[in-house]
């Protein structure tokens, strides 16, 4: 009887868990504008007012949203747009053009995209798309014909704005800003960029036409707020179907945020990077450890996840190397120490390795030279070593100059966790110059 009951509850749990994972993953992966905004109320208000004036009063504007990666620039914009779109007057009057500097790599492509998004191709026919010049003239004429009172305002959103700056002559930017400063179709140009020096990149004429309206997003919250955000991100919504589970889950989240270890993990994470995307990443990893038998997130889950997050990629590769390859890396480390980071070649490494073998007189490491060479090339393929540029490729393989891409700390750390590492090798790694 009790067994059946537990089975029932487990089936409920199964359903619950998959629902939780779905909801939370959606939240972490999509920069959903549904969530709350954190610490950007002023910027939000500014942007909202700006766009409202464009749409309702037909006022032309230009603005840049600047902030480091992951600071929520696009999210802010989407949030504002979503809110505006709920107003009927806005929905009916606004034309949007979304451009991305990574997609529209030159003005020609950008113009085509604008024409397409403004749905003017049908007026154009195929011919205008023949040449860039015609297309530009066409679009400018189209925008020139409008006026403040009667034309639909057009919202240009330029994602990765800094890439548009590199277009030839900044033609597109000049024209967009020029329209925004002249009595033509009302337009608002919003640029999104992470570069703080963006204004210096604008050509002086373009710069003069830009309104210098900059909205900075700076992740300006402290650890307390960060904890709050952490909780917000994990809380299940009230409309979640399984009420008791929701309560339990939310209670658990609350206790998590008060837990010492969790706070440490989060603080370390916070110190490393403030952006919310990395927090999402962390929570995502922690979330994947949740199963039916382990329905609530614990501090250790987060700890594990944070370990995964901050894992050193190169050191991880070292874990999987053979003893011979480890030996070669240790030889390289010694060479680096001796020659203060000067490049080395295979022959030097081989000699160093030979010295080690002779000293220890261990036949077990006595490999043929071609075998050592093969191991060396494997390291090259793993990009643990890298040939330095500027040398002719015609030099013999043995004498190609290389550099080690690992730091001493990394090597030592990797050796610590290397399974079944022979003690003499370990000794050799730590002994460095002493045996000479």
């Amino acid at each position: 009887m009790s067994k059946r009951k537990s089975k029932e509850t487990s089936s409920v749990n199964e359903e619950c868990i998959s629902q939780v994972q779905r909801i939370l993953r959606e939240r972490f992966c999509h920069q959903c504008p549904n969530g709350k905004l954190f610490g950007v109320q002023l910027q939000y208000k500014h942007l909202l007012e700006l766009l409202k004036r464009t749409i309702i009063h037909g006022e032309s504007n230009s603005a840049l949203i600047i902030g480091p990666r992951g600071s929520g620039k696009t999210m802010l914009l989407n949030y504002v747009l979503k809110e505006l779109m709920e107003v009927k007057q806005v929905r009916e009057n606004l034309l949007q053009v979304h451009l991305n500097g990574l997609l529209q790599t030159n003005d020609k492509i950008a113009l085509k995209e604008i024409t397409r998004q403004l749905q003017m191709e049908n007026v154009v026919g195929d011919k205008v798309f023949g040449s860039f010049a015609e297309n530009l003239a066409f679009l400018l004429e189209a925008l020139k014909k409008g006026n403040r009172d009667s034309s639909c305002p057009v919202l240009f959103i330029l994602d990765e704005f800094d890439l548009f700056v590199h277009h030839k002559n900044q033609t597109l930017l000049y024209n967009l800003f020029d329209i925004s400063q002249s009595a033509q179709t009302p337009v608002t140009v919003i640029g999104l960029t992470c570069r703080q020096d963006i204004l210096e990149l604008l050509e002086k004429r373009v710069k003069s036409r830009f309104s210098h309206r900059q909205i900075y997003l700076l992740n300006s919250f402290d650890f307390k707020q960060y904890l709050k955000i952490f909780k917000e991100q994990l809380y299940l919504p009230a409309e979640f179907p399984y009420k008791p589970f929701t309560q339990k889950w939310n209670k658990n989240v609350q206790s998590l945020s008060e837990d010492r270890t969790v706070q440490d993990v989060l603080r370390n994470h916070f110190h490393c990077s403030k952006d919310l995307r990395s927090l999402h990443m962390l929570l995502m990893l922690a979330l994947s450890s949740i199963t039916v038998s382990h329905p609530f997130m614990t501090g250790s889950d987060l700890l594990e996840a944070s370990k995964l997050c901050r894992m050193d990629s190169k050191a991880n590769i070292v874990h999987g190397l053979s003893v011979l390859e480890i030996c070669l890396i240790i030889a390289m480390k010694h060479l680096n120490d001796v020659y203060e980071g000067e490049p080395f070649n295979f022959q030097m490494v081989y000699n160093e390795f030979q010295k080690f073998i002779q000293r220890k007189a261990h036949s077990m490491y006595n490999f043929e030279k071609p075998v050592v060479m093969k191991a060396f090339e494997h390291l090259l393929q793993l990009e643990l070593i890298k040939p330095i540029e500027g040398l002719s490729v015609r030099a013999q393989r043995e004498y190609l100059l290389m550099k080690l891409l690992l730091d001493n700390n990394q090597i030592m750390d990797a050796l610590q966790v290397y399974p079944n590492c022979p003690t003499d090798v370990k000794q050799w790694a730590t002994s460095s110059l002493s045996w000479l």
Binding site: I56, H57, G58, E59, S60, I66, P68, Q89, K108, V123, V124, G125, A133, L136, A137, F138, L139, L140, A142, L143, K145, G146, R148, D149, S151, C152, N169, T171, N175, S182, A183, Q184, C194, R195, Q196, K204, R205, S208, R209, S211, H212, R213, Q214, L218, N219, S220, N268, F270, H271, C272, S273, K274, R310, D312, S313, K314, K386, L405, D407, N409
Partner: protein, 897 residues
């Protein structure tokens, strides 16, 4: 004006110099001979004839009358002309004055000043037909592709006036003289307004081509015809003017051809007489028309005529009835003809149609003259078809016989009376429907013409065939009308017209219209913000009065002189260069409208709005003439346009904004732009705008800079007082700002850049800030604090603030960089070195030591924000890093905490 298709023409004088002027070393001639190199055809144009002159647009050559031909000392051939303007050449706002639809064929005698009447002979393309019309006359509907123009009114730059009677007759005289007196057949361009003239003309042509024997006689007769006609028209004209009788247009045409009714009858002007007139005219007209039909079977194929005659909606049934009846009787003739003439045997189709036309035409005749008449025509057809000379002459004589009463009114008075009597008799038989037919029939005669000569027909037999094929199906009036609609497209000139709308240039691009109206500004701040927007163009530009006056004077003087010139305008962005120039142009255009200045054409290009410097040519040409061609071709055309003397052109004022972007390696675009105004005929005024004062010296080659000349002007950045004035003039007594606030903005901006745009932007932002915080402040005015905040937002360096908001390890990394720089004494370090410093710093601070991967992530994040300049390569730990901000800034930012 396609230079590639155009073959070269050779111009030579006709005959010897008529007179010469020793002092001026000019020789006058009476005509010019144009020889086309490729086709080897010659064209002779004499004084007093109308010619087409090359214009900016190949489709629309200018029309002019040749007044004088001379050669000057430098062996240049010149011509003095009287210009005629097409409706499209007239200013748009003046076209309204006409208050009627103007056909594309109508031209206006241009009496206005401003156009150079001295042109180069080599711009003359060919001669053209221009028919003067009396004020009451309708411009006939064109039915053939030949170029033919009608002049009815004159244009003196201000208003339209009907041609004065003297002028009209003079023009007509000139035309007649030409037709009779021209020694070489001007077959190509001759088109006539009425059937009467048509037949006359074609006969002339044929006669000239026929034997020498008959020629003399023919010429004599012809001259008589023309004389009678001219006198008649004069009479008619004076009469019309005197009486002021408003007769319908169709009647008018008739009167032209019916000499009998001339004086006495018109004064009477009662219905019966008028009817008599019509019939009289008809009677007179019919034989000639029919004859022409018969002799030139192929021309008959022109569908408009048929459709007109058949497209009679009033009594289609009766017509058809008549027609079928007649068809039986007449159809024989063409078939017989087909057998007779070996020439026409190849296209029976066309012949079938000929019959049909014949019938359709005859059907009307039949209503008055019965089968007797039609039989005669068939007979004539048969005779005319035969190729023998004598037969032709015979036909000619027959024609003459029948027509003589018509054309020579006075001497054959009796004849006329006889015919009128006969007509009156016939009138008796006529019923009303027939009269209706008549009325409708008349306009068709108006528009018919015999532009194509026999020569042409034999050369292009396919054209009539094609035309007629479409008309074979015309049994119902509706379909016939349809064919009428389609036919004009076949003619060469019309073909160019429907082509234009297909091209995308006529597609009107537009942004959709908004659904709801914009809201009006609700409060003072919003109103102020609206007025402070850069896009609002103030009524006058304060603080630029001097510059305005200088530019205005420059352009005005050039306009008055009719010369060209360049002016270079420089100044940092936002100092009102473009705005001032536009203001100047606006004022000049106003002056032109008040007739204080000769009119000019204004075009503008912007280097930034071009994708390539050479596109400048394309844009200029398109704005000038509406043509769309490639860049190289446009350059050729423009060079030709600006360097060829003569063709009438207004002065062009060209604004070249952002001049520096027109720079090319060879500087050919700049060179051309500044070279054109130096040419005498160009009449081009260029206002070049750029940012740097020393642009000519810096980037231009010597020859370009020298052509640009020394007329320069530089716009100084605004001083704070000027900026203050600009703001207050824009605000225009709206109390939204505190005085101090305005002064603060002006001083700040003047100290920074003197950019008025910046100034206005700051003000606008301040109003917004004020609005946000309005609940706190009581005054509601924009105060110093608001302005300060706006200025801070716009100009404060973002770095310090963002460093303060960076994560701890990011800050630590920056510290490590500085530590490493201090250690090494270099301004560059590898990530590995910085990493070691970072680790050391972390140990001091007691923080968790980040892994190398984390360090790399931090480094790339800082690099993306451009705090650091990071070498872009996959060197991992060996990537070199530099600071993009000063070390002091970093230290300052980090120390504060």
């Amino acid at each position: 004006m396609n230079t590639r298709q155009q073959c070269k023409r050779i111009y030579s004088w006709v005959g010897r110099a008529k007179s010469s002027d020793q002092q001026l070393k000019t020789f006058q001639y009476r005509g010019v001979l144009i020889k086309s190199e490729r086709s080897l055809t010659e064209m002779c144009i004499l004084l007093g004839e109308f010619v087409l002159v090359e214009g900016e647009n190949a489709d629309q050559p200018f029309v002019a009358k040749l007044l004088k031909l001379y050669e000057d000392g430098s062996q240049e051939k010149h011509a003095v002309v009287q210009w005629f303007s097409r409706i499209t050449e007239l200013p748009l706002n003046k076209r309204k004055l006409l208050q009627r639809e103007v056909s594309s064929q109508e031209i206006f005698l241009d009496k206005g000043p401003g156009y150079d009447t001295d042109i180069n002979v080599e711009t003359i393309i060919k001669n053209v037909k221009v028919i003067p019309l009396a004020p009451e006359e309708e411009v006939p509907v064109r039915s053939n592709g030949k170029q033919i123009f009608f002049v009815k009114e004159s244009w003196d730059g201000k208003c339209f006036k009907p041609l004065s009677p003297g002028l009209l007759s003079e023009l007509k005289e000139a035309e007649k003289k030409k037709r009779v007196g021209s020694p070489s057949p001007l077959t190509d361009c001759q088109v006539f307004s009425s059937d009467f003239i048509c037949s006359l003309k074609t006969e002339t042509n044929r006669v000239t081509r026929s034997t020498m024997k008959t020629k003399n006689i023919q010429m004599e007769i012809e001259s008589r015809h023309s004389a009678s006609k001219s006198s008649l028209s004069k009479e008619r004209h004076s009469q019309r003017v005197a009486n002021g009788i408003n007769t319908p247009g169709a009647r008018k045409k008739l009167q032209l051809n019916s000499p009998t009714k001339s004086r006495n009858k018109l004064t009477g002007c009662d219905v019966l007489e008028l009817l008599g007139d019509d019939c009289d005219a008809l009677e007179a007209l019919e034989p000639s028309a029919t004859k022409r039909k018969v002799t030139f079977t192929e021309i008959l194929g022109s569908p408009p005529k048929i459709s007109r005659t058949n497209g009679e909606p009033d009594s289609p049934l009766s017509i058809r009835g008549d027609w079928t009846k007649l068809a039986e009787t007449i159809r024989i003739s063409p078939y017989r003809r087909g057998q007779d003439s070996s020439l026409k045997a190849k296209n029976l189709d066309g012949k079938d149609d000929d019959t049909w036309h014949l019938n359709s035409r005859n059907e009307e005749e039949e209503t008055e003259e019965r089968t007797r008449e039609s039989k005669r025509t068939t007979k004539q057809a048969a005779t005319s078809k035969s190729n023998s000379k004598s037969d032709t002459n015979l036909a000619e004589e027959q024609e003459l016989k029948t027509r003589s009463p018509v054309v020579i009114p006075r001497s054959h008075r009796k004849c006329v009376q006889k015919t009128t009597a006969r007509i009156a008799e016939q009138l008796h038989f006529l019923n009303i429907s027939e009269q209706d037919q008549e009325d409708d029939y008349l306009p068709s005669t108006d528009c018919s013409d015999s532009s194509s000569s026999e020569e042409e027909e034999s050369m292009v037999p396919s054209t009539p065939k094609r035309k007629t094929r479409s008309s074979t199906t015309l049994s119902t009036p509706i379909s016939s009308r349809k064919s009428f609609d389609t036919t004009p497209a076949k003619t060469p000139r019309n073909a160019s017209e429907p082509r234009t709308p297909k091209t995308p240039r006529n597609a009107t691009p537009r942004i959709p219209i908004r659904n709801q109206a914009t809201e009006k500004p609700a409060n003072v701040l919003e109103e102020a913000r609206l007025r402070l927007h850069v896009s609002i163009i103030p009524g006058s530009l304060p603080c630029r009065e001097e510059e305005f006056q200088d530019i205005y004077n420059f352009v005005e003087s050039k306009l008055i002189d009719g010369t060209g010139g360049c002016m270079y305008i420089s100044g940092v962005p936002g100092t009102g260069k473009t705005a001032t120039v536009h203001e100047v142009i606006r004022c000049l255009q106003e002056a032109v409208e008040n007739d204080e200045l000769p009119s000019f054409q204004f075009i503008e290009i912007n280097g930034m709005k071009l994708t390539d410097p050479h596109q400048a040519y394309v844009q200029i040409l398109q704005l000038l003439t509406g043509q769309k061609v490639t860049a190289t071709h446009a350059a050729e055309l423009l060079a030709k346009l600006f360097s060829t003397p003569g063709p009438k052109r207004k002065t062009t004022v060209l604004i070249v904004d952002e001049l520096d972007l027109l720079w090319t390696r060879k500087q050919d675009v700049m060179y051309n732009l500044f070279d054109w105004p130096t040419q005498k005929q160009a009449k081009l005024i260029i206002l070049a705008i750029a940012n740097t004062m020393d642009l000519p010296e810096r980037i231009m080659m010597n020859r370009v800079a020298s052509r640009l000349g020394l007329t320069r002007m530089s716009f100084q950045p605004y001083t704070y007082k000027q900026l203050q004035q600009i703001i207050s003039s824009r605000l225009n007594h709206i109390k939204a700002f505190e005085e101090d606030a305005i002064q603060l903005v002006s001083r700040k901006v003047a100290a920074l850049s003197g950019d008025a745009r910046r100034c206005l932007d700051i003000c606008r932002r301040s109003t917004e800030i004020c609005e946000f915080s309005s609940q706190k402040s009581t005054s509601g005015l924009v105060s110093m604090a608001h302005v300060m905040k706006a200025i801070d937002e716009m100009f404060s360096s973002p770095y310090i603030n963002s460093i303060r908001n960076a994560s701890l390890h990011e800050q630590m990394f920056l510290k490590a960089i500085i530590a490493e720089f201090r250690r090494s004494g270099l301004e560059e370090a590898t990530v590995q070195q910085i990493y070691h410093q970072h680790v050391a710093l972390c140990r001091i601070e007691g923080l968790q030591i980040p892994t190398v991967s984390e360090i790399m992530a931090i480094c790339s994040r800082l690099g993306a924000c451009r705090f650091l300049l990071v070498e872009s390569s996959n060197k991992y730990l060996h990537v070199r890093v530099r600071l993009n901000i000063s070390q002091d800034d970093v230290m300052y930012a980090l120390k504060q905490e």
